[in-house]
């Protein structure tokens, strides 16, 4: 065991991984529910929601800890990871509610059948477990295991509608690309392990700090990041995304669009912060090149996705391309974590900007997909050209959809705008490259306005015969929509509240600050030295993260 690892008593370690344990037990419990009486769908839903709730409580129970590394340097439990996990669990719970409330009364053969509920919920919980671990992983083995644990249930979820040809096509693409990219990741990790002699992320970072990046190590890192790029759906690895999103049931699409990308971006931020924390003059040039690489990757991804989104008419495909674009924006920002130029761009700013973006993105994504799901449930329209007359038939839904789409675009007054401003502010700390990236962000945002407004145009300005009946969302769906809309309005309109959130985010411990398990990491970069770049001096103790 590394000398610097805090030796926690076993029960404390247990408490820190209790959320994950709860999710794993929940998976088992959900699968077992059919053996206990009938009404398997209701019972398993209740069990799954209870497991999510208990895991959430367990997370809140870890907040007093600040940051800790447990299990011999495998996982680091800190406010950054715990915030993401809390957001992920809330999101998963809302996705389950969305699924229940948008199920058709008379299911078509292709719909997710209610008697399959235990299987679906087990896969959802399993994917959440993998993603929660991804946000905490600080060891190459754990990164590999967590990524795979998040992937396999996702493959199953993508192909959940077994008789649907689109779904099975999407799942095939997903699993083939996923298997290939995980193979690349493992081979890359084997090279990294060989060159650095360690599996610990902090150890790898220290090696890079001392020796720079040799060509072989660069190959290894490329392979490793290829696996992450697949989860993020950045450009060379994006082909699966639109097909999977179109074929999968809407609730699964909702889940994948946020959760898989968010977990991958959290992991990316953690890795890059570890590298920059241990950087030195020997490695500055190499890390700068890596940062440029990630910035270019993000910029190309966002641009590519926005250009292809322009011609999409299927609402789920459109939102799929939109999610790729958002992943691109976040990748661009994550690149700043490496220091562009070296030394600028404090880790805390990047982490908090990313967390804020994830928070708003989770809810605008959830809202837009929920409206789409309700429209599919009530009218069967998946093509946005069939959205004609929806503004007359259901004014509330049309208004909410407009709000979510405008927030995705970044309309001032909504959460999506503030989130993008924060990304831009973080980018502006990165010198010339940062301003290029801000320009990319701005142009992309303007381009995206076109395709975000297309569904709105069809809802409001295309006439139908006016004979079709009005419809409304089920109460539970409506509740999700209103909560999401209020959250976006709150984060967008109330600067004071946004400020408070800012402070809470900025007081997050930089990942790996005392989580390295390797002597010397803390000395190389003290988390306190970044105060000048914070938007506001940390007033609260750092354990005070926001938990929703």
């Amino acid at each position: 065991m590394p000398p610097n690892t805090p030796h926690l008593p076993p029960w404390e370690t247990l408490r820190l991984i209790l959320p994950e344990i709860t999710l794993a037990l929940g998976m088992g419990a959900v699968v077992l529910t059919p053996f206990f009486g009938r009404k398997r769908d209701h019972r398993s839903t209740v069990v799954a929601l209870a497991a999510l709730f208990l895991a959430l409580v367990a997370i809140v129970n870890t907040t007093h800890f600040g940051a800790a590394t447990i299990l011999g340097g495998m996982l680091s439990v800190d406010p950054f990871s715990q915030f993401f996990k809390a957001l992920l669990l809330v999101f998963t719970g809302l996705v389950i509610v969305q699924w229940r409330s948008t199920a058709r009364r008379n299911p078509r053969p292709n719909d997710t059948r209610m008697q399959d509920a235990p299987d679906l919920l087990c896969l959802l919980l399993g994917a959440s477990l993998g993603m929660a671990l991804m946000a905490s992983a600080t060891n190459l083995l754990m990164i590999f295991m967590a990524t795979e644990a998040a992937s396999y249930p996702s493959y199953g979820l993508a192909g959940f509608r077994k008789r649907d040809r689109l779904a099975s096509k999407g799942a095939l693409k997903y699993v083939v690309f996923g298997a290939a990219s995980s193979a690349a990741m493992v081979y890359g990790m084997s090279l990294v392990y060989g060159v650095t002699g360690t599996l610990s992320l902090a150890g790898v970072a220290l090696h890079i700090g001392e020796h720079g990046i040799s060509p072989l190590l660069a190959m290894g890192l490329c392979g490793m990041f290829a696996g992450l790029a697949f989860k993020l759906a950045t450009v060379p690895m994006h082909f699966w995304c639109p097909d999977v999103f179109e074929g999968a049931p809407t609730h699964v699409t909702t889940f994948l669009a946020f959760a898989s990308k968010a977990a991958a971006i959290c992991l990316l931020v953690r890795i890059l912060l570890a590298f920059s924390a241990a950087s030195s003059d020997a490695s500055a040039a190499d890390l700068g090149a890596m940062a440029t690489g990630f910035a270019a990757l993000g910029a190309v991804t966002a641009t590519w996705a926005n250009l292809f989104a322009l011609r999409q008419v299927h609402i789920k495909r459109l939102l799929a391309y939109s999610s790729i674009a958002h992943a691109g924006y976040m990748t661009m920002t994550a690149a700043v974590a490496l220091g562009l130029p070296h030394g600028v761009g404090s880790p805390n700013t990047v982490a908090s900007a990313i967390l804020f973006y994830l928070l708003t993105y989770a809810f605008m994504n959830l809202g837009a997909f929920t409206v789409a799901a309700v429209i599919i449930q009530r009218t069967g329209a998946e093509d946005i050209r069939h959205y004609a007359g929806i503004a007359q038939r259901s004014p509330l839904l049309a208004g909410l959809m407009t709000l979510f789409l405008l927030s995705l675009f970044g309309m001032p007054g909504l959460g999506g705008f503030i989130a993008k401003v924060w990304l831009a502010m973080t980018l502006s700390g990165a010198g010339t490259m940062g301003f290029v990236l801000i320009a990319v962000l701005l142009v992309n945002t303007l381009v995206s306005l076109y395709y975000y407004l297309r569904p709105v145009y069809h809802m409001y300005f295309t006439r139908d015969d006016g004979q079709r009946p009005a419809f409304a969302a089920a109460p539970a769906s409506l509740a999700i929509l209103l909560v999401s809309a209020l959250l976006l309005l709150w984060t967008g309109l109330s600067p004071g509240a946004a400020d408070r959130m800012t402070r809470d985010f900025a007081t997050l411990a930089p990942p790996l600050a005392d989580a390295s398990g390797t002597p010397g990491m803390g000395a190389l970069k003290d988390p306190g030295q970044d105060d000048t770049n914070r938007r506001r001096a940390p007033a609260a103790p750092r354990r005070r993260a926001t938990f929703r």
Binding site: G156, R163, S168, L172, V175, V176, S182, Y187, M189, Y193
Partner: protein
């Protein structure tokens, strides 16, 4: 006879691993059958496993050999996860075959639902 040929050392393992990697990548790129691609993936995974075990045992020149058995553990996890991945992938392939009557991945692109 040179020493290199008589004693098995790190380069021997790396050559085997590299050959496996090359075979795996060429299989992935040329096969149109989904199961063929999966076989290519398994080859690459095993190449990585050989790397891990070899690096763990010999260490990279200039870098101290890892004291623990990290690499060997990683190799075992690769084997376990490869099995899990194959089972998920085969289930999806089977379902695809039921729907389309073929597991040709290039045709999967053209087939309309």
């Amino acid at each position: 006879m040179s020493d290199l040929l008589l004693t098995i050392s790190l380069p021997h393992f790396l050559v085997v691993s590299f050959l496996l990697l090359a075979a795996g990548i060429s299989t992935m790129l040329t096969k149109r059958n989904a199961i063929g691609i999966l076989i290519g993936v398994e080859l690459v995974l095993n190449a990585a496993a050989i790397n891990f075990v070899a690096f763990n045992h010999y260490g990279w020149p200039g870098v101290r050999a890892a004291p623990a058995i990290d690499g060997q553990m990683f190799a075992i996890f690769i084997i376990v996860l490869a099995a899990a991945e194959a089972s998920v992938a085969l289930a999806i392939f089977l379902n695809f075959y039921n729907n389309f009557g073929s597991i040709d991945v290039e045709r999967a692109d053209d087939l309309k639902a």
